[in-house]
């Protein structure tokens, strides 16, 4: 992970913790099949990991297990050496939910949302307003995400993209050393996605957190990740998207991942990290989907085959 060395800035973000996931399985009560099966994954400190998979592929379940929002049924997850529930209590992970989950009818300003995330542990008789260190930090992250000019507005009056920036600012202001983003680019157009990728890159270079992005959209993942894990109940691929432009991947994967196997084969063809694949037979099986690979002239010549 030489490109991912955490750049410690003046802000007190210590070295981010890594995450190790070993043999994790999960089945929802009343469900006939496993949502997750035997998932093992090591997320190095400071890496930007994209978890890609179709809807219902277990991405959100894995994220909730990492966040400690679901109890662990099988396997083990360690975040910087401690359990997810413990890590949650320590406030290690800054969660950026999909924007629609929040209660936007609450009459509070965007800045107040950030203050609550960053300082809900403050003793009741201490003032958030008069905490100059905290206020400086909030100003800084608001500028970083570009939300300073609408931070005073009610959170319910902001657009989806603005709310998302505020929620990212909240995670940064809380000094979370792991950022977990759930479907961050849903409903954002192509130029918005590029701006989002730029923002993540800025955050990563300044704070150096471990970043986990969950998405079914390959472009969102490819633009901002060092590593990609493909998840459809089981972990199909854990690789690096190095050298791939969002454009090529966009063509290969089409818009959604209804045809995930085809996408997976394309993914495999373009990776330079041989031996990373955890499910070789399945990938071989899917190479027989030539229509998508050949449609892109740039993708055919440089097929690395072992």
């Amino acid at each position: 992970m030489n490109q991912n060395q955490a750049t410690n800035s003046d802000l007190p973000h210590a070295a981010p913790p890594g995450i190790s996931i070993t043999g994790v399985g999960y089945r929802y009560a009343g469900s006939e099949s496993d949502a997750l099966q035997d998932v093992s994954l090591r997320i190095e400190p400071g890496v930007r990991l994209g978890i890609l998979g179709p809807n219902g592929g277990g991405k959100s379940t894995l994220l909730k297990l990492i966040l400690g929002l679901l109890p662990l049924q099988r396997g083990e997850i360690l975040i910087g050496g401690i359990s997810p529930r413990h890590a949650r209590r320590e406030g290690l992970i800054g969660y950026v939910p999909q924007k629609l989950e929040a209660e936007l009818g609450l009459p509070i300003s965007a800045r107040r949302v950030i203050e609550l995330g960053a300082a809900w542990r403050l003793l009741p008789w201490k003032s958030i307003r008069r905490d100059s260190v905290l206020q400086t930090r909030i100003d800084h992250v608001l500028n970083l995400v570009g939300a300073a000019e609408y931070a005073h507005k009610p959170i319910g009056s902001l657009s989806g993209g603005q709310v998302q920036r505020v929620l990212i600012a909240r995670a940064l202001a809380a000094q979370s050393r792991i950022l977990a983003l759930d479907e961050p680019t849903v409903g954002i157009d192509a130029s918005g996605q590029q701006r989002f990728a730029d923002l993540l890159a800025r955050i990563h270079s300044e704070f150096g957190p471990t970043i986990i992005i969950i998405s079914h959209d390959i472009r969102a993942i490819a633009a901002g990740s060092d590593r990609v894990a493909c998840l459809a109940q089981r972990l199909h691929l854990h690789t690096s998207p190095e050298g791939l432009t969002p454009r090529v991947l966009g063509e290969l994967f089409a818009h959604d991942l209804a045809g995930l196997p085809a996408g997976l084969s394309g993914m495999h063809l373009h990776t330079h990290s041989a031996g990373e694949c955890c499910d070789e037979p399945r990938v071989e099986l899917n190479i027989s989907t030539p229509t998508r690979s050949t449609s892109s002239p740039t993708s055919t010549p440089d097929r690395p085959r072992p």
């Binding site: 966040l67 400690g68 929002l69 949650r88 209590r89 320590e90 406030g91 992970i93 800054g94 969660y95 939910p97 989950e101 929040a102 209660e103 009818g105 609450l106 009459p107 509070i108 300003s109 107040r112 949302v113 609550l116 995330g117 300082a119 809900w120 542990r121 403050l122 009741p124 958030i128 507005k153 009610p154 959170i155 009056s157 929620l167 809380a174 979370s176 977990a180």
Partner: protein, 306 residues
């Protein structure tokens, strides 16, 4: 006769002063809690809790029949509060775990408690008769619609104590509670103890509802928890003020409702509880009408569902 005359008449002055002080404690407490109840959609749970008080009244009555406690005193109030807190936690727990759909869970507790209360009250009369215990009778009307004019010094003191307790607890937990209400999953991921916050909310709700029953009875207690906040949030849609301002408006709306209702009740010789609720409903309707008819700006905001 006018409220003013009641207040200057030496024979009725104390009665009305006590009613106003006890009522003030109730409406201030409910006004503070009300915006959160509306935003969090706790109105129906509140209704369930207030009807559960019936079960508490039944338990207290049977205990009184066996001579364990006396009706109308602090001990009876404590039994009712305890019963309502248990019911609130039960309803909250069942609906959160999705064991049952929320409305079914609440409806079950509501009718179950009312039925239990009815049976126990009837049984207590028989037991008291057999044992020769003298029990202070309670009119069904005062249980159903409140009896603020019956408020003695004990009611005034418990009302103020409950109001101080509820507002104090709310102040103590305001940051994690607000974070929890805004976005429960994120709050948990940031380390806010979700179960504890849900329990705090349910306890606040139960204590407020039981105290409000003195003023508005089992049937109308929830009105005091829902209407002031609904009025304040409605008036705030255009102004975009923060939660502190909305809470202030909510408290003022509650006070206006109380005083207006007491004036109406003395003028028209209506029961005070229903009069207060009618004034609050009229205020909400007036606010809605003003917004609908308040010029093109107001109309456009209303059309947007503002």
């Amino acid at each position: 006769m006018l409220l003013y005359e009641y207040l200057t008449d030496p024979y009725t002055r104390d009665l009305y002063l006590q009613a106003i002080v006890a009522g003030m404690a109730v409406v201030i407490m409910c006004g503070v809690l009300s915006p959160l109840v509306v935003v969090r959609r706790l109105g129906f749970i509140g209704q369930g809790v207030s009807h559960s008080a019936f079960g508490g009244i039944g338990v207290a009555a049977i205990l009184a029949a066996f001579g364990v406690l006396s009706t109308g005193g602090l001990a009876e109030f404590a039994v009712i509060v305890a019963f309502c807190i248990a019911a609130a936690l039960g309803m909250g727990g069942l609906s959160h775990r999705r064991t049952l759909p929320e409305d079914t869970a609440i409806g079950m507790f509501l009718v179950g408690s009312m039925a239990l209360g009815a049976v126990l009250v009837q049984a207590s009369v028989r037991v008291a008769g057999e044992r020769g215990v003298m029990m202070a009778g309670r009119s069904w009307e005062s249980i159903l619609f409140g009896s603020i004019l019956m408020a003695g010094p004990t009611e005034v003191r418990t009302g103020i104590a409950c109001a101080v307790g509820v507002i104090g607890l709310l102040w103590w937990f305001r940051r994690p509670l607000l974070f929890h209400i805004f976005d429960e999953d994120s709050a948990r991921a940031f380390g806010v103890p979700g179960e504890r916050m849900r329990a705090v909310l349910m306890i606040l709700l139960a204590v407020a509802v039981v105290t409000a029953m003195k003023l508005a009875g089992v049937v109308l207690a929830t009105a005091l928890l829902v209407l002031p906040g609904a009025i304040a949030l409605r008036l705030n849609t255009r102004a975009g003020r923060g939660l502190a301002a909305v809470t202030g408006i909510s408290v003022v709306a509650g006070i206006v409702g109380l005083l207006g209702g007491l004036i109406l009740s003395t003028q028209m010789d209506w029961q005070p509880g229903p009069s207060v609720v009618l004034v609050l409903v009229a205020m909400f309707a007036a606010g809605w009408a003003v917004e609908r008819l308040g010029g093109p700006h107001g109309a456009s905001r209303a059309a947007l569902g503002g």
